[in-house]
């Protein structure tokens, strides 16, 4: 509360500051008058949306002598909310990591590589990514991070929290809003032997820089006959957030995964996010590392081992089943696992393959699974035509044609730019229900 009883306020005066799971904002008086009573105490938590927070009296406007001032307090859950309920932060806005935004995620199918009895630490994907960068920066003085708002602001999505404090301005660098420029600088520094991590506030803005990612980073090793290397990671959130419209909601997986010379990684849970980012930073090649904003706040088990690495290029079977194979990456893995639970109730045993890396793609794991289940559903957040699912289906048809009992089905975004309206957005994006329906369809159920 910025005001106290007895204060005179006019329209537009700030009367309170509120924090919700998705917004930090000021509430202005909509009318003028003297504050008669505060109905919500300083620092109160869990105030309901539309609950009056103060009462004004003696308003100067004739129409409303007594007008309650409603303060937005808790955000109503949005339609089409992610499985973990994380509301969007903002690179249109650059939001903080709300402390209360931690949700539990379930990732099944432990890595075989882990020694028995390994301790697990509950970690959000956001912190797992940060830990990966911090560990690699401690290990190798050539590794540094640059991007918009990565240093002082601690990252638009708080992924680089505390890195500036530990590593200083030389190694955690705030750039101007000049994606094409700083991506080029990153590749140049990599050509000179450094190991940059270039953060894009979101991959939508990497379109400004895609020339350097492809023409400069991906192709130069080849063009130089093996002389010029760029060990560089381009990372940031990819795919749809919530209600941010067409220009801020695109899955670029298929774009980058079609380019020779690039490696493309798209993890789902925190253990993979950490282990794969560490591998990506060490990789001598340019790696496009696709994260997902809607999973940043989700907590998963991360193995408590000294140097947790997950190899690039290996898919992971997250759930074993006999009847149908679901292939997904990034946030869609969570959807696939939920769909598998729902399908189990109906007696359909689902195998869920988390691709984790899109280039090089682990076709063997996919093909092996389809040879067992004889049915394939691919799930991606991006558009279907020329997409990841199309590539997987082609490979399966190529290598396991005789094993297929039904044509593969792709679950993907509708073939339109992502709309803003809540109802249209839900219709446009993949959902657990759409996956369940597709799985049943290939099982002829």
């Amino acid at each position: 509360m910025v005001i106290k009883v007895g204060d005179t306020v006019k329209s537009g005066d700030v009367i309170a500051e509120i924090e919700t799971d998705k917004a930090t904002m000021e509430v202005e008086a909509v009318d003028e008058g003297v504050v008669e009573a505060l109905l919500v105490a300083e620092g109160a938590e869990g105030v309901a949306v539309n609950a009056p927070i103060a009462r004004l009296s003696g308003g100067g406007t004739a129409s409303t002598p007594q007008s309650p001032v409603s303060g937005p307090a808790t955000i109503a859950p949005q339609m089409g909310e992610p499985e973990n309920g994380i509301a969007p932060l903002s690179p249109g806005g650059g939001g903080p990591a709300p402390a209360n935004a931690v949700m539990k995620g379930a990732s099944q199918g432990a890595d075989a590589e882990l020694p028995a009895g390994t301790e697990m630490i509950k970690t959000t994907v956001r912190d797992a990514l940060r830990d990966a960068m911090a560990e690699e920066m401690r290990r190798d003085a050539d590794v540094f991070l640059m991007g918009e708002e990565v240093a002082q602001y601690q990252g638009a999505y708080k992924v680089s929290r505390d890195l500036l404090a530990e590593f200083g301005e030389r190694r955690v660098i705030d750039t101007p809003i000049t994606e094409h420029g700083f991506a080029g600088l990153g590749v140049g520094a990599a050509m000179a032997g450094l190991k940059p991590i270039v953060e894009f506030m979101t991959f939508n803005f990497a379109m400004q820089a895609i020339d350097h990612i492809i023409n400069s980073a991906a192709k130069t090793l080849y063009m130089s006959g093996g002389q010029i290397r760029s060990s560089i990671v381009f990372r940031g959130p990819n795919g749809a957030a919530s209600r941010v419209g067409a220009q801020h909601s695109q899955d670029y997986a298929a774009w980058y995964a079609s380019v020779p010379g690039l490696k493309v990684v798209a993890p789902y849970d925190a253990a993979d996010a950490k282990g794969l980012l560490k591998s990506a930073i060490r990789d001598p090649n340019p790696v496009v590392f696709l994260e997902h904003e809607m999973v940043y706040g989700t907590e998963f088990d991360v193995p408590d081992v000294a140097d947790w690495l997950v190899p690039i290029g290996k898919a992971k079977v997250r759930r074993v089943g006999l009847h149908v194979t679901l292939v997904a990456y990034s946030r869609m893995v969570g959807f696939a696992l939920q769909a598998a639970d729902a399908l189990a109730v109906e007696g359909i045993e689902t195998e869920v393959v988390d691709l984790r890396t899109l280039r090089p793609l682990d076709h063997d794991t996919v093909v092996r699974s389809v040879m067992k289940t004889n049915r394939l559903v691919t799930i991606e957040e991006g558009w279907g035509p020329m997409g990841v699912g199309a590539e997987i289906a082609a490979r399966v048809v190529d290598q396991a044609f005789d094993y297929l009992d039904a044509p593969p089905v792709r679950v993907c975004q509708e073939d339109v730019p992502l709309p803003y309206a809540a109802n249209l957005e839900v219709l446009s994006l993949p959902s657990v229900a759409k996956i369940v329906a597709a799985a049943k369809a290939v099982c002829y159920r």
Binding site: S11, N50, A62, S63, S70, P88, G94, Q152, I177, V416
Partner: protein, 340 residues
């Protein structure tokens, strides 16, 4: 008021403003409309009725409003995602703008664009762009069309201090001057791009000088003074319309609210914001002027505010109750079906 900064001196005298009463009262009304609209949008956001990103224009009202006076019939406007105020200043219906914010079929983009993506061909408003800096080349392209058709129109291109660092801005500047395109670049320098101050992002912080190496004249303007904005706008528009090419106006302004709704704002102090609100508020500044000139007394200004609040309340109610788009709308507007 406006400081010239080009290496190529172009003598442009800004006459001391002597605006008429009606115009000033109109400014007052427009600025109040924007402020009350944005305050209400912030509240609807808090109530979960507006989703995603929502960037408010509070503090910058004098720019969109003052520049209107420089606009001629058919002139175009283009800006970024902080565009609600520009649309209201252009006279667009607050109901259609608010309904777009709530994602309804009656919204100006039929609910498909949202806060950052609003357009109106009728108002010559070309958006509403979410990619920082994109509007600068697009707006220069509008000016190219004007030059091509030789129709006397001017394109007004608005962008932020942060956007001023994008490479395409300078590619556009070069072509605009090279081809004498009728474009006015309006840099809304509110001192921050998200959490990054101009000092931390720009080697040359006087953004009106950014045209010097392209021979584009520029001027610094008090963007909190609607009359100063109007005068500078007229001068720049006249320059562009008369065939002399582009002009850069750097509007010194301030954003009162967070970058968008989820900005904790740790990069500046509450004192800094309060000081601007208290000493430089564009609306209070104009109201004092109205009173000093005896154009309006407090009661009249209150009456304007009451009228504006009623309009905003209506718009909010409309935006809340009007229906969402028909599901079939999901697939429309991807392509045009007929060849003209």
């Amino acid at each position: 008021m406006a400081r010239q900064s080009a290496s190529k001196p172009k003598a442009v005298a800004i006459s001391p403003a002597h605006p008429d009463k009606a115009a000033l009262l109109d400014f007052c009304r427009s600025m109040l409309l924007i402020r009350r609209f944005e305050e209400r949008a912030g509240q609807l956001y808090g109530m979960g009725l507006i989703g995603g990103f929502c960037h408010l224009y509070i503090g910058q009202e004098a720019i969109a409003v003052g520049m209107q006076a420089a606009k001629g019939d058919g002139d175009q406007v283009i800006t970024g995602y902080r565009e609600h105020g520009h649309m209201l200043a252009a006279g667009m219906d607050p109901k259609g703008v608010m309904a777009e914010l709530t994602g309804r079929a009656a919204g100006v983009s039929r609910g498909k664009g949202g806060s950052m993506h609003m357009f109106s061909t009728a108002a010559g408003f070309y958006g509403g762009h979410g990619i920082v800096g994109a509007q600068v080349s697009l707006g220069t392209g509008l000016a190219l069309a004007n030059r091509y058709r030789d129709d006397g129109k001017v394109a007004f291109v608005y962008f932020g201090d942060g956007a001023a660092n994008q490479g395409q801005v300078y590619e556009s500047f070069n072509m605009a001057e090279l081809w004498s395109l009728p474009v006015v670049y309006v840099i809304e320098n509110n001192q921050y791009a998200m959490g990054t101050s101009v000092e931390r992002s720009s080697s040359e912080t006087h953004l009106h000088k950014r045209g010097i190496s392209f021979n584009i004249p520029g001027a610094e303007v008090d963007g909190m003074d609607v009359v100063a904005v109007r005068e500078a706008g007229k001068m720049a528009a006249e320059h562009a319309r008369s065939g002399k090419g582009p002009f850069i106006l750097e509007m010194k302004t301030y954003r009162y609210r967070g970058h968008s709704m989820s900005d904790p704002g740790k990069y500046r102090t509450r004192e800094e914001i309060d000081a601007v609100r208290k000493t430089r508020d564009p609306i209070e500044h104009l109201q004092e002027r109205l009173e000093t000139l005896d154009f309006a007394d407090e009661a009249q200004i209150k009456a304007i505010d009451a009228e504006v609040k009623a309009i905003v309340a209506d718009a909010a109610e409309f935006a809340r109750t009007t229906p969402e788009p028909n599901p079939a709308e999901l697939y429309t507007d991807v392509y045009l079906e007929t060849v003209p």
